[in-house]
């Protein structure tokens, strides 16, 4: 199958590659670009650990083809920390033990990023609604919800 040239921005860096149409965005990020923060779980849209932001919206990278991201701006958990310093959201996950086994974490971070960018002071119910799209096999949602609450606090403090 013919390769298709694509050009997209991932975490602020421009990449130009040629991909097979069937290349999933999740595999493209991990295998072609070597960005391994995005995890791959169920590969049919249920678990959410592959969630990335495409043009600011949380999407399942296992349900998008890399060719569809042509011209788009993609953000992954790889790009959250800046200059070796954890983002407020990552810091909060660390403080509140939101990681546990860590497998669902990249997806949780990205749905929480989308939530906090749209709503700086989410209620507990809004956080629960957002993270309910993703599965945590440790079933440790309490810590994850607390982490996002803590992140909102940290971001408020940082904004002052």
């Amino acid at each position: 199958m013919a390769l298709i040239p694509i050009s997209l921005k991932v975490n602020g860096t421009r990449f130009e590659r040629a991909v097979e149409p069937r290349r999933l965005l999740s595999d493209f990020l991990r295998e072609d670009l070597g960005l391994k923060a995005t995890h791959v779980g169920c590969e049919h849209g249920v678990c959410g650990t592959c969630t990335v932001l495409m043009d600011g919206e949380a999407v399942r990278s296992c349900l998008s083809f890399a060719v569809q991201a042509d011209g788009c701006e993609v953000r992954t958990a790889d790009g959250l920390a800046q200059g070796g310093k954890l983002s407020a959201l990552q810091q909060a996950f660390w403080e509140k033990h939101g990681l546990q086994c860590g497998f669902c974490t990249p997806g949780m971070l990205m749905v929480a990023t989308e939530l906090l960018e749209r709503n700086a002071k989410p209620t507990k119910a809004e956080i629960e609604e957002a993270v309910s799209s993703n599965l945590c096999r440790c079933t440790g949602y309490y810590n994850i919800v607390e982490s996002v609450q803590r992140a909102a606090e940290l971001m408020q403090e940082g904004a002052k």
């Binding site: 199958m1 013919a2 298709i4 097979e20 149409p21 069937r22 999933l24 595999d27 590969e43 049919h44 849209g45 959410g48 969630t51 919206e57 949380a58 999407v59 399942r60 296992c62 349900l63 998008s64 083809f65 060719v67 569809q68 749905v111 989308e114 609604e129 957002a130 309910s132 799209s133």
Partner: protein, 287 residues
């Protein structure tokens, strides 16, 4: 867990998309949000030889009001419809049902046109559109036609779309004064597929029900209306006794297929209970 190889086509206009669909029939499939198609491809349940990606076709995601109809482009995302003021005003039933549809990231990508073309019997929107007497606008390279939502869904994962045709828009009569509507659903978890769901719309004039529309999700095919229940309601005052009597007919009227979490007997009970609840809520909103 990886899709089979396919050829990728990205039309820049509706005309190009329809040409591609005609040229690649029957092997070509439309790729809209991909939230049902891509999982099936990843699982290799389907292996389309050609994908026609309509995501960059301009104008196909518009939401507008035209005369007495809310007109929704096939590519309108679930998230956009859930947040739309036009939809909230002219089809509040759709917004209520959308609160039960999947999760944020799926709603960000999934489209109404894709949802109904996939035609999952457990899906909410076929029931909503059937209850609303919506019309489905479809086009091929050769012709355009309109199919009533009540005739669009012909079976599980099966629609009245002919080879070379795609859904382009959904037309819904706008909500009228004196009308009340409600969605009720039972699912294992918030956002899961419905075990059963019921859309009810009633119109009240002079204290009497003049029109009733009831449709169910989670049964043998998508978008099933329950005319026996509707008939029983018209002419009543929609008091509790009338609702109970009509709802009791729902359990007989449905033909549920069993699923892992709900056998047919339970689904019949759900149909009755949810019909009664939806009708009671719709009645209050009609006042």
């Amino acid at each position: 867990m990886k899709p089979a190889p396919f050829e990728y086509v990205r039309p820049g206009s509706l005309a190009e998309a329809l040409d591609a669909l005609a040229r690649h029939a029957p092997a070509g499939r439309i790729l809209a949000g991909g939230q049902s198609l891509v999982p099936m491809m990843n699982l290799r349940l389907v292996k389309p030889a050609v994908l026609i990606d309509i995501n960059r076709v301009p104008g196909l995601a518009d939401i507008r009001v035209d005369g007495g109809e809310l007109v929704i482009g096939a590519l309108a995302r679930h998230a956009a419809l859930l947040a739309s003021e036009l939809v909230a005003k002219h089809c509040p039933l759709m917004v209520e049902a959308y609160r039960c549809v999947a999760h944020g990231p799926i709603r960000n990508r999934g489209t109404l046109g894709g949802n109904i073309s996939h035609a999952d019997p457990a899906s909410e929107m076929p029931a909503v559109l059937a209850a609303c007497d919506a019309k489905i606008g479809v086009r091929s390279a050769k012709r355009a036609r309109t199919i009533p939502a009540t005739e669009f869904f012909t079976g599980p994962l099966t629609t009245a779309l002919a080879e070379g045709e795609m859904v382009t828009e959904i037309r819904i009569p706008t909500a009228k004064p004196g009308q009340g509507a409600a969605w009720q659903e039972a699912a294992n978890r918030q956002g899961d597929f419905a075990m059963a769901g019921v859309a009810a719309i009633v119109t009240v004039a002079g204290g009497k029900c003049t029109h009733a529309s009831v449709a169910v999700a989670g049964m043998e095919r998508p978008g099933v209306r329950l005319p026996a229940v509707e008939k029983k309601l018209v002419g009543t005052t929609l008091d509790d006794a009338a609702i109970t009597a009509a709802a009791s007919m729902a359990s007989e009227a449905v033909r549920p297929s069993g699923s892992y979490h709900a056998d047919p007997i339970y689904k019949r009970e759900l149909a009755e209970t949810l019909t009664a609840r939806a009708l009671a809520a719709a009645r209050e909103r009609a006042r």
